[in-house]
């Protein structure tokens, strides 16, 4: 009898503490997110991100995964099946720089992620960092690039000696998908204009199909202005007056070039955030710079790119107030100029920079 009572007591106490946990937590339950720290400077900057997110009380629980040292036969690459399943389950992830090991018999890491998670759009917000002066001020644009097909289909062959053909494939499905995402993003973030970049005067059927899909989607969003710009004009306008553009949506190759051009306008790949969107609402934010093995482990790396990518991830999760808080802290720290890492012209260490951001929160 007593033991029965004891069991009952334990069970109710257990339940109550569970209930207490449920009701006393923050308005959001902790969201699980996959974190790939990556190689080289990856682990240091990932640590920086974790500290800042904790200090800002962001309700995210990180699940860390590392690139393996041997090829996983289930994925044909160094990324394990568990890592991929984790991203699929959690639906959000943050990825640091990964150095692709050289060799044959396996797919590149980025290609694996892209194909397995069906990451169809690459979103790169480019805005001038106040306090870090480049030749261009007031840059504020987003580039959205189709990530799966186009010129990067990888379908090449040698016809006869000295003649090579490479296929560029554009499908209605992929173009519609990325156009939908572009307009949805523009609406969700209060952007006014979407520009489709193309070369349809020369590549009439392929880029023509892309434009047709963009026009169809544009009709569904009458409040957003839509325009089409030929890519050579776009390049020229971007370097003369980047303020002319708002959201840019483009097929794969043009997107690659234009998004790197825009990164150059604001200060380079070391400061640029990026986010890959996959089917079913998966978002994998990543830092697009290299793993910089020469400064790995020396506490000299600049975590800004990974931090801003984390901010994009928060925006994707609709945690806009936290995202704004962290972004403002980062921008204020850089604007103040007291703590800047070596690549921005300062002398601070990664940890000092991180602490300065936490102070600004």
């Amino acid at each position: 009898m007593a033991s029965f009572g004891f069991q009952l007591l334990k069970r109710t106490l257990g339940n109550r503490s569970a209930a207490a946990r449920f009701f006393s937590s923050a308005p959001y339950t902790p969201i699980r997110a996959t974190l790939f720290p990556g190689d080289g400077i990856g682990p240091e900057i990932a640590e920086s991100v974790k500290q800042i997110f904790k200090a800002a009380e962001v309700p995210i629980e990180w699940e860390e995964h590392y690139v393996g040292t041997e090829i996983d036969p289930r994925t044909q690459s160094f990324l394990t099946w568990e890592s991929l399943e984790s991203v699929r389950k959690n639906r959000v992830g943050l990825k640091g720089p990964m150095a692709t090991p050289i060799g044959k018999g396996h797919r590149s890491l980025n290609l694996t992620l892209r194909k397995e998670l069906n990451l169809y759009a690459n979103v790169r917000p480019c805005y001038s960092l106040p306090g870090y002066k480049t030749r261009y001020d007031n840059v504020n644009l987003i580039t959205i690039r189709e990530n799966t097909e186009g010129e990067y289909s990888g379908l090449e062959h040698q016809v006869v000696r000295g003649v090579v053909e490479s296929l560029k494939v554009i499908t209605r499905q992929a173009s519609l998908r990325v156009a939908e995402y572009a307009f949805h993003y523009a609406k969700a973030h209060g952007r006014e204009r979407v520009s489709a970049i193309h070369k349809a005067n020369i590549m009439q059927k392929t880029d023509g199909l892309f434009l047709k899909c963009c026009r169809e989607v544009a009709e569904k969003y009458p409040e957003i202005k839509y325009e089409e710009v030929v890519i050579d004009n776009c390049c020229m306008m971007l370097v003369k007056n980047p303020g002319l553009f708002d959201v840019l949506v483009m097929p794969n190759l043009y997107g690659d070039i234009i998004s790197d051009l825009c990164a150059g306008l604001v200060g380079g790949l070391g400061l640029t955030p990026s986010c890959n969107i996959g089917e079913g609402g998966i978002a994998l934010a990543e830092a697009v710079h290299g793993s910089a093995p020469d400064i790995a482990g020396k506490n000299l790396a600049n975590p800004t790119a990974l931090l801003l990518s984390g901010v994009s991830m928060l925006r994707h999760l609709d945690l806009h107030d936290k995202a704004d808080k962290i972004q403002n802290a980062i921008l204020n720290t850089i604007a103040e100029g007291k703590y800047r890492t070596a690549d921005l012209g300062g002398k601070a260490k990664t940890t000092e920079f991180t602490n300065a951001i936490i102070d600004h929160l």
Binding site: Y136, Y152, G154, K168, Q204, G208, D232, V239, L265
Partner: protein, 367 residues
């Protein structure tokens, strides 16, 4: 007293002599008969084309340059370039043209591209440089972009596989890659340029751009005095907007060349001022440097405010090509003086002048 007077007068004479000889170029010894007027095919084109080619005609007449123009009407919505025009260019070997607008996705292939393929004008050249007087964000820009003009992504071979799936072929051949690489190095050699950079995306398009790079490397070994390096196209664009002074001559396949040329033109002052042209083994067509398909907005045509500088500088290149260097120098000096003075500038350079006002200023500056 007399000696100082004499020495001061010699000083004065020497001073005047240097000032008068300032604009005289290096002596060029022509062959007898070289001064006979040469025929040049002129295609005014669409949009602002007639306006800017008209500007060139006026300046040529004012200079009494030994060229006369055979004008032909060609418009971008024609099915093909009329055979009479092609005949004329084959006869004259040199052509000057305004832009031809291509209707978007309209099933008509671009006439600009057609002309280049028909005449095998395999090299397209754009010279992007800072013009003194135009402030830009970047200084020390002096880039020549040499772009393969006949194959690559502009092969025009597209087809719909099934409804909703379209394929486009990009063709790269060793023959074309080799000849453009040879042209690029030869250009660098003849124009005293120190470095040639090949722009590619061979990490993704391993076979196609790999073949292009292979050809460039082979030709580079034949010019040991010229530095050669390679750069991936996305990194190239990023470097162009941050450190353009590192580039000298750039050789690229077709599509990347288009983008790089426009980006370089943009950082150096805009496509309204950059000269350029297309050249093949036998013919040369001079046109606005970058963005030849851009015929300007309707407003520019109406208000007659198109920028004639690009086509004027291209026509100076044409005069040099025809071996009339003194006329080319005079034209370039006049145009550069007008830009430096800054009083007459069209809208894209930040001014409010019309085309005719700029032309009048150039005519005044000619000596």
């Amino acid at each position: 007293m007399a000696s100082t007077a004499r020495s001061s007068s010699t000083l004065l004479k020497r001073f005047l002599a240097t000032r008068l000889n300032q604009s005289r170029s290096v002596t060029y010894m022509p062959r007898p008969g070289d001064g006979a007027p040469r025929a040049v095919t002129l295609i005014p084109g669409d949009g602002i084309g007639p306006l800017v080619t008209g500007a060139v005609e006026q300046v040529m007449e004012a200079m009494h340059a030994p060229v006369y123009f055979e004008k032909f009407e060609v418009h971008g919505d024609m099915k093909a370039v009329p055979p009479a025009v092609i005949e004329s260019i084959r006869k004259n070997k040199v052509c000057l043209k305004g832009g031809l607008a291509t209707p978007m996705g309209g099933g008509v292939s671009s006439l600009n591209v057609q002309l280049r393929k028909e005449l095998d004008l395999y090299a397209s050249l754009v010279n992007c440089f800072n013009l003194p007087g135009i402030t830009t964000r970047h200084d020390n820009v002096d880039i020549v972009v040499i772009r393969e003009n006949t194959e690559g992504e502009y092969s025009g071979l597209e087809h719909e596989v099934v409804p909703g799936v379209v394929e486009s072929l990009k063709v790269i051949t060793k023959f074309c890659s080799e000849r453009i690489a040879k042209y690029a190095f030869e250009y660098a050699y003849l124009n005293n340029r120190k470095k040639v950079t090949a722009v590619h995306k061979a990490n993704i398009m391993k076979l196609a751009d790999g073949l292009f790079l292979e050809s460039c490397r082979e030709v580079a070994t034949k010019y040991p005095g010229i530095k050669y390096n390679e750069i991936i196209v996305d990194n190239c664009c990023m470097q162009l907007v941050s450190k353009p002074e590192q580039f000298d001559v750039m050789v690229t396949p077709n599509l990347y060349g288009n983008l790089v040329a426009n980006t370089a033109a943009g950082i150096a002052g805009g496509t309204g001022v950059m000269p350029g042209g297309n050249v093949g083994a036998e013919h040369a067509v001079f046109e606005q440097g970058a963005s030849a398909g851009n015929v300007g907005s309707g407003k520019e045509v109406e208000e007659k405010k198109a920028n004639p500088v690009a086509l004027l500088l291209s026509s100076a290149m044409m005069l040099r090509h025809l071996q009339f260097p003194a006329f080319a120098d005079r034209l370039e000096t006049a145009v550069k003086r007008v830009i430096l003075e800054g009083q007459y500038r069209t809208h894209d350079l930040g001014g409010t002048s019309s085309t005719q006002e700029v032309v009048d200023a150039v005519l005044d500056a000619l000596n």
